[in-house]
Amino acid sequence: MQEFWDKYFLIWHQLDLETIMRWGWFIFLFDIPRFVILEGITLFLSKIKRFETKDLWEDARRKLWKETPLVTVLVPGHNEGQHLYKLIASMQKQTYQNLELIVIDDGSIDNTSIIGRSFEKTGDIDLFLRAEERGGKASAANMGLRYCKGKYIVHLDADSSLDADAVEKILIPFYRYKNVGAVGGNIAVRNEDTSLTTTMQFLEYLSSISVSRVVLSHLGIYKMVSGAFGAFPKDVLERVGGWDIGPGLDGDITVKIRKINKNVIFEEEAVCNTHVPVTWKALTKQRLRWSRSLIRFRIRKHNDIWKPDKNFKISNFLSFFENVFFGLVLDFLWVFYMFQIIIMDPKFLLVWFPFKYSIYVVLALCGFLYVLWTNKNKKKIMKKILYVPLFPLYMGYYMRIVRTIAYIDEFLFYDSYKDTWNPEKTSRKGREYGA
C-alpha cells in the first residue's frame, strides 16, 4: 500500500507545468472552467434567482389553476403495451387532472393494441390510435398531434413514470415566462440498482440533465427537450409542423421551436423517472444513435444556424456551438492526443493517465457535490458515492469512444438514415431528401 502511494506521488513530481499544459491544456482551458467554475456560478445564480422570484412562480401556478386548460398527454410507442398500466396509474395520481391521455400504437406486433383498446373502453385512455403499419416515432407523434384537443401537449415515453406533481410543474413555466415554446422536464433514472450500467447512467443523468440543463437554461442556450418528458403549446407544435423523421427527433423539434424565436425552458422540479438500458451493449446502441443525430441535425439539417444571415441568432448559435464543441471537437482532439502519445511515447501514458484520472476524479466529485446540492433526495444519491471514481472512466473513455465512432460513422456512411429504429420506407425518404 505504502509503495503504491509512493509511486503515485512520484508521478506528480515527474510532471512539470510545461508538460501538463502541452498535453492537458483543454482540461484547464475548457473542462475545469466549464464544469466547475461556470457550472458552479450559474447554478448558484439560478438558485438565487429562483428563490428571489418565488412569488412570481407562485403567481404563475395560480394562473395555471385559474385557467386549468385541457392538457394532452401524448404517448407514442412501438410494442409498449406492457407499460400502459403503470403509465395510466402514474397519470391518475397527477395533481393536475384536466388531462387527455392519447396513446399511439405505432404498428406494434405484440398485444399492445388489445391492451390499449381495453383501456380505451374503460376510459383510462381517452384516445387509442393505432397505425397498422409501423411508420416511425415521428409519424406516431404527429398522428396524436392531429387528433389532440389540449392547449398544451405533454410528450411522454410509455415507460416513463411521472412524479405526482410533474405535469403541474412542467406547465407552470408557460405562465411564468412569456413566449415559451417548449419546456423540458427533468429525467431521473429509476432502475439505478439493476446493474453497473444503470448506476453509471444514474450518475450521468444527474449531472448532465439535472445540473447541466439548469445551467444551459439559465444561460438561454438549452436546446434539448427530451422525448421522455417535454411540454409544448399545441399551436407552437402545429406551427413547426410537428415532428420530423428521427432518430433524434426530440432535439430536432426543439431547434425548430428555437428558430421561430420561442424560448425553451428547462424545469428541474418536473421529474420523470425512466428506465435506462441495462446492458452495455444496449446502452452502446442507444448512444450511437443519439450521437449520430448530432451530426445529422446540428451539422447537416440545421446548418443555417451557423450562417450569419438575417435569421442568425446568437443564442441559437451558442447552443449549437456548445453542443458541437464539447461533443464533437473535444472528442476528436482527445482521440488525436491519445494516438499521439501512443505513437510518440507509450511509456508516458503510465505517468499521464494516473495524473489525468486524478484530476477528473476531483472534477467528478465536484460535480457530485453540485448534484447533491441541487437535489432533494440526497440520501438516495449519497448511496452511490462509491461509484463516483468510476465516473471519469465512464464519461471520459467509454462515452468518448462510443461518440467518436458514431460521429465518424455518420460523417462517412450516413448510418442514421439506415437505422432500423425507423421503418425502411421512411428511412429511404430521409436519405432521398435529407442526405
Binding site: 380505451e120 393505432r130 420530423d244 420506407k425 430521409g430
Partner: protein, 327 residues
C-alpha cells in the same frame, strides 16, 4: 254448396274449396282425407290454422294435403303451408301416403274417447297432447324452420299456430318444448344459435357501428395517410388539393402509394355536432326493429335452437292420454 268428395284407392277424398272460402270445418266423418283445392294461400293458411286449433281429434289429426298443381300460386316463401299440412301430392296420387292415412285412422279410433279437453287440467296440457298425437302419427321430428315472419326468425310452425300473438307463440311454444324435454319426453339436437332483442325477443335487429362516446351512429370513416418524407399523418381531406394529394406540412405532392405515402389505418368521425369524437374502433350498437330498444351485442338474449324428437318415455306418456300428460 258442399265440397266434392271423390274416391281414390278406396279412400274418400274431400276437395276443400268452399270450406276454405268460408273457413268452416267440414264434418270429419264424410271423408278419410282432405285435399286443398284452392289457390289463395292466405285463405288456406287461415283454414289450416283452424284445423290445428280444433279440439276434435278427428279434425286436428285429419291428413290434409296440398296439390303440387297449385304450388305455383302459392308465393315462393310460403313454406308455412307445407309445415301446417301434410305436404304435397301430385295428381291425387295417394299410394305413398296410405300407411300414414291408415295409421292415423287407427290411432283416432283407439284414442277418440281419451281426448276430451275438459279432462286436461290446463289448456297447455291439452296442447302438449295434441302435439304428441300429431308428431307421433306422422312419425316426424319437431323441426325448427327459418321463417322471416316469425318473431325470432326460427319457428316451430305447427306448435306456434296454436297462438295468435307472435310473442306468445314464441314464449309458450319454447316453454312447452323445454318442459317436455326436461321431463325426458323429448330428446334434442342442436341446430343453431340466435341472438334476440333482450326486451321483446325479436330476431329482427339492426346492427351498426356507433360512437363510443355519444352512441350516435352517423359516422364517417376515413383513411389515415402517412407522408413518409415529413412524417405528417392526417386524413385524406387534409391532403386534398385540386384533385391532387398535397401534404399540408411540406407542400410536396404525394404521388405513389407505398413509395411516398401509405394508409396505416382508418379513423371514424362521429358526425353528431355536439360530439364530433374521433376514434378508431367503433363498438356495435343493436337496434330492435320491433320494439326500438337500443342495446349492445353482449346484452342480447342468446337462444339455442333445437330439433326435437319424441323419446320412448315420451311415447309411453303420450299414449296414456290425459292420465299420462298429468304426470
Amino acid at each position: 254448396m258442399e265440397d266434392t268428395v271423390i274416391e281414390v284407392y278406396s279412400k274418400k277424398i274431400l276437395l276443400l274449396e268452399q270450406a276454405i272460402e268460408q273457413n268452416i270445418l267440414p264434418d270429419p266423418d264424410i271423408a278419410d282425407v282432405w285435399v286443398v283445392n284452392h289457390k289463395d294461400q292466405w285463405l288456406i293458411r287461415r283454414f289450416l290454422r283452424s284445423i290445428i286449433h280444433s279440439k276434435n281429434i278427428k279434425i286436428y289429426l285429419k291428413p290434409v294435403f296440398l296439390q303440387k298443381e297449385f304450388k305455383k300460386f302459392y308465393a315462393e316463401k310460403s313454406s308455412h303451408l307445407k309445415h301446417l299440412s301434410d305436404g304435397y301430392i301430385k295428381k291425387m296420387e295417394l299410394s305413398a301416403k296410405l300407411p300414414l292415412i291408415e295409421l292415423t285412422e287407427r290411432f283416432i279410433q283407439r284414442n277418440k274417447n281419451k281426448r276430451n279437453p275438459v279432462d286436461f287440467i290446463t289448456e297447455n296440457n291439452f296442447l302438449i297432447q295434441k302435439t304428441f298425437d300429431y308428431y307421433y302419427t306422422r312419425n316426424k321430428t319437431i323441426k325448427p324452420v327459418l321463417e322471416r315472419k316469425s318473431l325470432t326468425g326460427y319457428a316451430y310452425p305447427r306448435i306456434e299456430a296454436y297462438f295468435y300473438d307472435k310473442k306468445e307463440a314464441f314464449i309458450i311454444s319454447r316453454m312447452l318444448l323445454q318442459e317436455a324435454y326436461n321431463r325426458g319426453c323429448l330428446s334434442r339436437d342442436y341446430v343453431d344459435t340466435s341472438y334476440l332483442c333482450h326486451s321483446c325477443h325479436s330476431g329482427f335487429l339492426n346492427y351498426r357501428e356507433i360512437c363510443p362516446k355519444c352512441k350516435g351512429h352517423n359516422l364517417k370513416a376515413r383513411f389515415l395517410i402517412h407522408h413518409f418524407r415529413c412524417a405528417y399523418v392526417g386524413i385524406e381531406t387534409d391532403f386534398a388539393y385540386n384533385d391532387k394529394l398535397i401534404c399540408p406540412k411540406c407542400s410536396s405532392e404525394l404521388r405513389n402509394l407505398g413509395v411516398d405515402y401509405d394508409k396505416p389505418g382508418k379513423i371514424y368521425l362521429c358526425q353528431n355536432k355536439k360530439c364530433n369524437h374521433d376514434f378508431q374502433e367503433p363498438p356495435i350498437g343493436v337496434n330492435c326493429i320491433d320494439c326500438k330498444t337500443e342495446q349492445s351485442p353482449y346484452e342480447l338474449f342468446v337462444k339455442k335452437i333445437y330439433e326435437y324428437e319424441i323419446t320412448t318415455k315420451g311415447i309411453k306418456t303420450g299414449l296414456e292420454g290425459s292420465a299420462g300428460i298429468l304426470g
